[in-house]
Symmetry: C2
Subunit: 338 residues, 2 copies
């Protein structure tokens, strides 16, 4: 029997890998939000010097990885594996962004849960002794996402109150077998949930059941409770999704409110930045983690965080065929102590 | 230093996981090819009882996993993780196919290298002690692929001589910490290559450099040579790609021909089935591995195989934007002995 597998969905890492460095790169709007001081690079140019939004997204990936490596004083050749994915069709944000770096790559698809999924797999591969150093990276771009999933930007369509604004951003984490922390101590892998939500403008409602499923499994598998964490943070449920998640736990007699937040509610000023229900996109939880959250851990404001990435597993084709929106949530625990 | 990491790209598994069971599900055309007797299920219905080709692909995923579990006398709840991905936008073949099985999931994107990538990650997670049993699964469907990547089938477009025929098929592998073999002993992770090929109807030429890169790295990292294998098999290079690969090695003074083959050249009768340069699609190497190759290992015809999945990392958007086609190849060694 596997001794590191705990309960149905969780894993305990006996030699928890350390986050060495992180870097995050965002667009102008994100750079005007409340977390503006936590980003490594803010671009006023939505194209990041490229000719298309998709190439811009790849450029962000490259910038984020390069900056994270620079901070760690590591070259790409010293990284054993990169774990990467995004929401563009066939993950071209990641593949074209990483093309020139020549790091052995495992491509992932976890939708907006990719930052957590890449940390989960990267940390297991290190703890298992297969690698000394890996990079985990993901990205999203408002313009490439809008035209792929919704409508041409030129159309100027009105957004519904439950809509979330896709973050233009990329975040990269360098993980290593040895380091000063924060450490990744546990992983809880997600099971796909689907409560029948079909409104592609209401991702929060679609993803809340997945967040509830994984966070509940985490509590049960590891016999922990919300008070064991300084912060429990979901990826991008937005205002409605976060409210639903809190309701689910309230029905179980668990009050998550004292130490719960959602990256989708943190990166923009909802009153001043016209983002409706909040933020979304793979880059949302990536940029918030790689900037604000890890800086808050290093400063000692937070010592233990449950980081739960949330992803909606729809495509335009599945939506057009009348399908509901399956979702998944992958969680990792980050701790300042081993 | 990680003791299991060997050279730049490879990993050695000290407690090699065993393939317990496999299952493969294919369409009518595959069922008329030379490997017809090796498949678990051949459907005369391209829709697999569903209303759309995309739902058919998901149905194949579900059937393949269910059949592999049935053979192993395991329920879905006894599987720790499933590693899955495909080439439909946002991997809906995998996610909708696995939605009802409730297995903790890690979604992957490796294009047509996904069967090898899922075995690579699944076997590391087992060898690392994080799981006792995992499932690796992938799929493709000729009709869903054609309309997503190329043209509406109704258009009846003519195919170029270098074009490959996407396999309608899914393959699932149950891997476990203990078992009678074949065992996964090594993994060689791919580095993205891009030699500037832009012809989306010539995937073989785009992917051959990736296959060469990974197989060369495998030889170097592990100090092995072609004669150490009964068979070195690539995923879906097709006729032209396979020829290019053999040429690359010939330039290095290595003759791969005696024990080399390509799944894309095995699943169809190229003379009789009008498939031009051969077969492709995530389901190609998956169905050939889960049927013919593993049956040939169990019968003792082959004792050691290097299985090298090959994937082209383009999207319609990257092609429309004039980009070349990056590719990747992930390889695992399968051996009848530990």
């Amino acid at each position: 029997m596997s001794l590191k597998h705990v309960g149905r969905q969780s894993v305990s890492l006996p030699n928890p890998p350390s986050i060495i460095t992180t870097a995050c790169v965002v667009g102008k709007k994100e750079g005007e939000g409340p977390l503006r001081d936590t980003f490594d690079h803010i671009s006023d140019d939505a194209y990041f010097g490229q000719k298309t939004w998709e190439k811009a997204e790849s450029q962000m990936v490259k910038l984020a990885v390069t900056k994270a490596l620079d901070k760690a004083k590591l070259s790409a050749s010293e990284i054993d594996f990169v774990f990467a994915g995004d929401l563009l069709n066939q993950c071209i944000g990641s593949t074209f962004g990483l093309r020139e770096l020549e790091i052995p790559m495992f491509g992932l698809f976890g939708a907006c849960s990719t930052m957590a999924e890449s940390l989960a797999l990267g940390s297991m591969v290190i703890d298992g002794g297969f690698a000394d150093r890996v990079v985990a990276v993901t990205s999203s771009h408002f313009c490439s996402a809008e035209r792929q999933f919704r409508l041409p930007l030129e159309y100027g369509g009105q957004r519904t109150p439950t809509a979330q604004w896709t973050v233009t951003g990329a975040g990269a984490v360098v993980l290593a077998a040895e380091g000063p922390g924060p450490y990744i101590k546990h992983v809880t892998c997600g099971i796909i949930t689907d409560e029948g939500i079909k409104d592609a403008n209401n991702m929060g409602a679609a993803m809340a059941p997945a967040a509830y499923s994984t966070i509940s499994a985490h509590f049960n598998d590891l016999a922990v409770s919300p008070s064991d964490y300084d912060l429990i943070v979901t990826g991008d449920l937005g205002a409605l999704g976060a409210e639903i998640l809190l309701d689910f736990f309230k029905n179980d007699g668990i009050d998550l409110t004292p130490n719960y937040n959602d990256c989708g509610l943190m990166i923009f000023d909802r009153d001043g930045q016209d983002v409706h229900a909040g933020a979304s996109g793979c880059g949302c939880s990536a940029a918030v983690l790689c900037g604000h959250l890890l800086q808050s851990m290093r400063s000692g404001r937070y010592n233990k965080i449950l980081f739960a990435g949330t992803g909606a597993l729809l495509s335009t084709v599945s939506a057009q065929q009348g399908e509901s929106i399956p979702s998944i949530c992958c969680a990792v625990t980050l701790s300042n102590t081993k």
